[in-house]
């Protein structure tokens, strides 16, 4: 579990990935989110919950009408993304970020977070892609942690 800053940075660098529906441990993607409703939102982080069974974070997004809406974003399980390099303070209140994701089917201001673009330009996967490498049986997750 002991990780050097450089190894964490390497992990993060590996996570410059493109948006894809994240896979969840606790429920299927399709029962909550619509893969046909992609969304890209830019705003300011207001809260981070690095907790099970999924991380949640919240972001104020200003609309074209000037009205601010607080969106909720769900990511992968904290254990999974911890192993990908995330930490509790990877996103902090006040951070200006851009999120790519998929809206909830119930029409609320909730989305599955696929990637987050940080102020420094890095784009991180917030799903569970590294472990959830698919059913290929290729062992592609070997040594990923």
């Amino acid at each position: 579990m002991m990780r050097t800053k450089s190894s964490i940075f390497c992990d993060l660098a590996l996570l410059l990935v493109f948006a894809a529906p994240p896979l969840f441990a606790h429920h299927g993607f399709a029962v909550e989110f619509d893969k046909n409703s992609p969304v890209t939102l830019t705003g300011v982080v207001t809260k981070m919950e690095f907790m099970n069974p999924h991380i949640y974070f919240y972001m104020d997004v200003k609309g074209k009408d000037g009205k601010v809406v607080n969106w909720a974003f769900e990511g992968g399980p904290p254990n999974v993304i911890y192993r990908q390099g995330w930490r509790k303070d990877t996103l902090k209140p006040g951070d200006a970020v851009t999120v790519k994701g998929f809206r909830a089917k119930d029409g609320t201001h909730l989305a599955a977070c696929a990637t987050v673009k940080l102020p420094d330009g890095r784009e991180l996967s917030a799903g569970s892609g590294a472990v959830a490498g698919g059913a290929s049986g290729s062992g592609s997750n070997s040594g990923k942690y």
Binding site: L23, G28, V31, E49, M51, P77, V80
Partner: protein, 241 residues
């Protein structure tokens, strides 16, 4: 007399120490030899492991399982909305291996082997002391498991499962007649070939098997509480009418 008592006590002391320490010595001693695939009686399966996440177990099979008409009808109407994991219920013995997303740890002693799932911090105990299944086993989430070694392969037989777990996220179900046979074959120090055979006369016309590679993970089991911050259920929608 007292000298005899002393001698008895003196001889019991080291013996008790050995009884306590031996399982750990055996378990750890095996690790040193684990690179040798020719390991005799039992391979060393200790460690933290993970299989490729397989949310649809029909994918590695290449087709749907050989459903009975009842099994096919159940699968046709099954909805991820009803996945027991969304209710934070236990993941079950095979799904915990192939679709838990998170790794699991195997702790091995001569008489038993424990599989500790990070997912919901559930666990399996596999008895390897030669016992049989109880005659009247009550159905439980992880069933009754006994194991025996065939060379470097641990063969685990599991019965006594309830019908409340799923085999995967896609909604493959089973009844309380499910019989699992798993083969954990140590291929090398970092790889176990896992073959699971599902037998359930209520859902399947014949037994069917899937093989996946389990690979050693450079990590430790982390905390997990499904209810810690559960906020999804109110947002879930059925995917089938």
């Amino acid at each position: 007399m007292s000298a005899t008592k002393h001698n008895v006590r003196a001889s019991i002391g080291p013996a008790m120490t050995l009884l306590v320490v031996l399982p750990f010595v055996c378990a750890c001693g095996g690790r040193a030899a684990s690179g040798n695939s020719q390991a005799a009686a039992a391979a060393d399966l200790n460690g933290v492991w993970s299989a490729p996440f397989t949310p649809d177990i029909s994918k590695p099979l290449g087709h749907q399982p050989p459903f009975t008409p009842y099994g096919a009808a159940r699968f046709a109407k099954e909805d991820e909305f009803d996945d027991p994991l969304t209710q934070c219920l236990p993941i079950g013995p095979a799904r915990g291996i192939q679709a838990g997303i998170m790794p699991f740890q195997i702790v091995q002693t001569p008489s038993a082997l424990a599989i500790l799932f990070e997912n919901q911090h559930t666990f399996r105990i596999i008895h390897t002391d030669g016992r049989s299944h109880p005659k009247d086993v009550d159905a439980t989430w992880f069933g009754d498991s006994i194991g025996k070694w065939e060379g470097n392969t641990l063969v685990i037989d599991t019965v006594g499962l309830n019908d409340r777990t799923w085999l995967d996220t896609a909604g493959h179900e089973h009844s309380d007649q499910l019989h699992l046979v798993e083969r954990f074959q140590k291929v090398d120090n970092n790889t176990i070939q896992w073959t699971v055979t599902f037998e359930d006369p209520k859902f399947f016309t014949e037994p069917w098997s899937v093989t996946l590679p389990i690979t050693r993970q450079n990590t430790e089991i982390m905390s997990y509480s499904c209810e810690e911050n559960e906020k999804d259920r109110v947002h879930l929608r059925r995917t089938k009418k």
